[in-house]
Symmetry: C2
């Protein structure tokens, strides 16, 4: 699968853009951004973790292309996606006296990408933005799809917009500064693309996953571009999430329920919840006879071999009940007429949508899972 290609075009009509990915591409930010800017002025939004690593470098590279940068540095972490923090960001950027031709640059992980993209969609009723995602999760998940947003009291990402970036610049070297736990959490989303529709890619990951995690830059680039291409295929068919795009939620409905219980404070990272959630989806489907137990075992073996979580071990699940988890699942954004669309599987590489998962079958699976987990903990 290895390719020397660094660029993936994402085709969305007049909202099309490129993803440029590879080791050291941050050095090319000036030449890549310049032709896309309506005015040579950008506002870089980043966080306190990322700023010391890459902000000065980005500003300098842009300056060589005569692009003038200002910056806003937000606190790191999910709490930054609150409405009040969003309000502060908007007021700070407006106080700079921006114009409609000003472009925002999101330099950081998913939180920065989500809040910056949403800010761009609402400032002056919409300005451009460019993403420079620095975590594996944001590189393979937020680079494609145009989803931006913030959290509300009622739940995560309930407020937002679809707003496509003008360019996504992914420097695989930025993963060298990422804590390994976050790298693995992001890898869960990479595995997801294999599970949804590409059994060969899953096989490739079984073979190359360890080296990729350990730092091979070419393998990283290939896995990231492959993941983005897989997501782009789905998004091109369903930009505003009415149908097939739901497949991307494999493992997410289960995962969200776990995240909701664990809080969003870092005890359970989103990608970790997805890792466990995907296993739950496979286990549930095996219990229902949709998929083979061999595929469940194969998935668990791959995730475990890299040190990713595959069950509720270590989670504070003593008081959890099937009913509680199901209640969280029902709060999902994708509920339609009171029904949750579940993403089920026939095996590795074969996901499908179902909106008639029975409460009884779900409850039975969750009861079983919780009993196993409590016995072990």
């Amino acid at each position: 699968m290895t390719t020397k290609q660094n660029t993936l075009p994402v085709s969305l009509g007049e909202r099309s853009y490129d993803i440029v990915c590879g080791p050291g591409v941050l050095e090319q930010a000036g030449t890549l951004f310049a032709p896309l800017l309506k005015s040579k002025r950008v506002v870089i939004v980043t966080d306190r973790n990322v700023a010391p690593l890459y902000l000065d470098k980005l500003i300098k590279v842009l300056a060589t292309a005569l692009i003038q940068s200002e910056s806003v540095i937000l606190p790191a972490g999910e709490a930054t996606k609150s409405i009040s923090c969003f309000e502060g960001l908007l007021e700070d950027i407006l106080a700079m006296g921006i114009e409609r031709g000003t472009t925002l640059i999101a330099l950081g992980g998913g939180v920065i990408g989500d809040i910056t993209g949403f800010a761009a969609s609402t400032l002056l009723r919409g300005i451009d933005f460019i993403q420079v995602p620095t975590t594996l999760l944001s590189q393979v998940d937020s680079s494609v799809g145009g989803k931006t947003g913030i959290n509300a009291r009622a739940g995560k990402n309930l407020i937002g917009a679809f707003h496509q970036p003008r360019l996504v610049l992914i420097d695989t070297l930025s993963l060298n500064s990422l804590p390994k736990r976050e790298l693995l959490a992001g890898y869960a989303e990479v595995v997801k693309y294999g599970l949804i529709g590409d059994r060969d890619f899953f096989g490739w990951l079984e073979k190359n996953g360890q080296a990729l995690i350990d730092g091979d830059q070419d393998l990283r680039r290939d896995a990231i571009l492959k993941s983005c291409a897989a997501k782009a295929d789905v998004v091109a068919q369903d930009e505003k999430e009415g149908g097939v795009r739901a497949l991307l939620n494999l493992g997410h409905t289960f995962g969200h329920a776990l995240e909701k219980e664990c809080g969003y404070g870092g005890d359970l990272l989103h990608g970790e919840a997805v890792s466990i959630g995907m296993v739950m989806a496979y286990e549930y489907c095996a219990a229902q006879g949709f998929c083979s137990v061999e595929d469940v075992a194969r998935l668990k073996a791959h995730l475990s071999s890299l040190g990713m979580p595959v069950d509720l071990s270590g989670l504070p699940c003593e008081d959890w009940t099937a009913e509680l988890l199901m209640k969280h699942m029902m709060k999902d954004k994708k509920v339609k007429n009171g029904k949750v669309t579940f993403i089920l599987v026939r095996g590795i590489g074969e996901a499908f949508m179902s909106s008639d998962v029975s409460d009884a079958s779900l409850e039975s699976y969750l009861d079983d899972l919780l009993a196993r987990s409590k016995a072990r903990n």
Copy 2:
């Protein structure tokens, strides 16, 4: 010009919708809304002034079509367009457990339309909304164009989105409950459409304006639909406001400077600022030799005859300077590379865009205007 036609289709591809206008059309809300709703559940957003007049009636009419309504009643007035009020609105609506198929209904004037439309554009990354504008200003201005938004510390409407309604329902009877001052303020925007590109319509208004203000329902419907059609023509050419749509700002750049100085507390209504601002645009253009003094006189005569403001009389302009007003104009959202696009005129019915209005000519006109005003006050 009189027509029995009640419906104006606004053509914007897949975002097309109808404006239905006439006396008593609120009674048809149930049958008109029902086919457009993805689920038979709506949230009506209104304010404390409008709720006692029309909320119960609307809820009842919708119930006859088996549409279930919940409602949120906001304080009346521009302060409702703050970010904090917007946040409260979003949280209140989310707490109702809405789904993507839920539709918001904006029942009220421009403030309610703007904040509700923006809420609809951001809730769950975008849900539908229907406008039921109850003021003349919102009927002729906000019904077309999809502009939604709220205010920031740095200025009005700096945060928002383009989000088209699914339907606009205008009951001309709702104008019977509108204070005359607000009716006249809205009428300024009606006059604007004549000034921009339709000299005949201006003539029609000279003939029928008084009767329309006094309550003739057919004339109201005709003037509203004519205004909406004029705006729709411009918006269809330029949905996201890159070019010709700027013509709709005739009188607004001057007007905004006055509003900024008077505050937004009701001392000077937006439409009153537009009324004066349009006269300023004509006076400036006459001074520059672009337009005849006869057309300036004709405009002032028509506005004055109905009791609309045409100069700074009564405004607290003692300490105003040309420099101060020009500074406000430069803060306009439509500034591009530091230049304001001004809407100038060659006469009644002939507006054009210009981005090379010299500071000196503007200062000279404003100095003259302020000297006249201060001498008179």
